[in-house]
């Protein structure tokens, strides 16, 4: 099972969820649309698109909930013909995350909701209090490399 995560503490709760709920895809992301962890995607660019759309669905459902009910909706379920989607928010001391999972007949909405509740508890328990300290990650003289990459990207290399 291939799970990729940006921060390692996310992996055990996500792995447990995917194994138990038997879902096909799973994504954990920041409300801004940045991926935190993923399971089941092949291409990184597809992960980014899914994150952008999930953040959009979550944001618009939240706003709709606030307008209709005075507060954001708790979870969202989209049944498809063969696959279904469940999207909800997971709160931790490191902030709120959006969780999206896709499942087929191997699972069910009830199972997904059941294990999602457990996932939220496990995620909250695993979340470290402090974010990793920001530190310089790229060399100061990165411009040359950036320019070469961009030129190649635009066929100007």
């Amino acid at each position: 099972m291939s799970i990729t995560t940006v921060e390692t503490w996310v992996e055990p709760p996500l792995r447990k969820f995917v194994e138990e709920a038997r879902t096909v895809l799973a994504l954990l992301l920041h409300p801004s649309g940045q991926v935190v962890a993923q399971f089941g995607f092949v291409r990184a660019v597809d992960v980014m698109s899914a994150c952008a759309l999930a953040a959009a669905i979550h944001a618009s459902a939240g706003e709709l909930g606030k307008q209709l009910e005075g507060k954001a909706f708790r979870g969202l379920h989209h049944p498809g013909r063969e696959r279904q989607l469940y999207l909800a928010e997971a709160a931790t001391q490191r902030g709120n995350f959006i969780f999206l999972t896709v499942f087929d007949q191997e699972s069910s909405l009830g199972l997904v909701r059941l294990y999602f509740d457990e996932f939220c508890k496990n995620l909250a328990a695993a979340a470290p209090a402090e974010a990793r300290r920001a530190e310089p990650v790229i060399e100061e003289s990165f411009e040359g490399e950036l320019n070469r990459n961009l030129a190649a990207l635009f066929g100007r290399g």
Binding site: V35, A44, E140, F142
Partner: protein
């Protein structure tokens, strides 16, 4: 703040193209999409109305390749420019690592540019972000239109660029200025990852 995955050595940055309606934000993304080879881009997602006006956002994921040993990815977003999509603009702007303000160079659009620029600053402030700290590049689009219809970059600078940020004249439909704008915002965003946070 850009997302850095130390385990897989990946950097992901969110760039938002902001500006008034019909200034050419989506056109910028379309041009970039058309230039970049398939293996370095994802599908371009457009949540648009039936008349092709941006309803929620356009989204284009790009793989910039390796920089300092980190695989660097950019998520390019546009916001809907129409005044009434204020809520959506705020949502898309959330967590932006850099902003490209696409201004419409036509003289008759000056007020819309100024209004949208103020809207950008108000929305950043509402999210608790100091607009001066956000990497920003201004693009004066539609510079290909007849001289008597458009303002020059110098004239537009006087009205909009009080921070003295990098600015580029552009013709996003045909390409001039699009690449330079993207390169400039990329540099500004990545520079923050090369400077120690104090």
């Amino acid at each position: 703040m850009s997302l850095v995955n130390y385990a897989t050595r990946e950097i992901t940055c969110k760039i938002v193209y902001y500006g008034p309606g019909r200034s050419g934000k989506t056109t910028n993304l379309h041009y970039i999409y058309g230039q970049v080879p398939d293996e370095r881009k994802g599908k371009m997602v457009s949540l648009a109305t039936q008349t092709d006006r941006t309803l929620f956002f356009d989204f284009l994921p790009l793989d910039l390749g390796t920089i300092s040993g980190f695989t660097t990815k950019f998520q390019l977003y546009t916001v809907p420019g129409q005044v009434y999509y204020q809520t959506t603009r705020k949502l898309v702007l959330q967590g932006a690592d850099g902003v490209v303000f696409v201004a419409d160079s036509q003289a008759r659009q000056l007020d819309e540019n100024i209004e949208s620029f103020q809207d950008l600053h108000a929305n950043l402030a509402e999210q608790g972000i100091d607009a001066r700290a956000v990497p920003l590049v201004i693009q004066y689009n539609k510079q290909d239109l007849p001289r008597d219809l458009v303002l020059t970059p110098a004239e537009l600078n006087d009205a909009l660029n009080f921070r003295g940020v990098p600015e580029f004249g552009a013709d996003a439909l045909h390409g001039p200025g699009v690449f330079e704008t993207l390169r400039s915002i990329s540099e500004l965003v990545l520079k923050r990852l090369s400077t120690p946070v104090r």
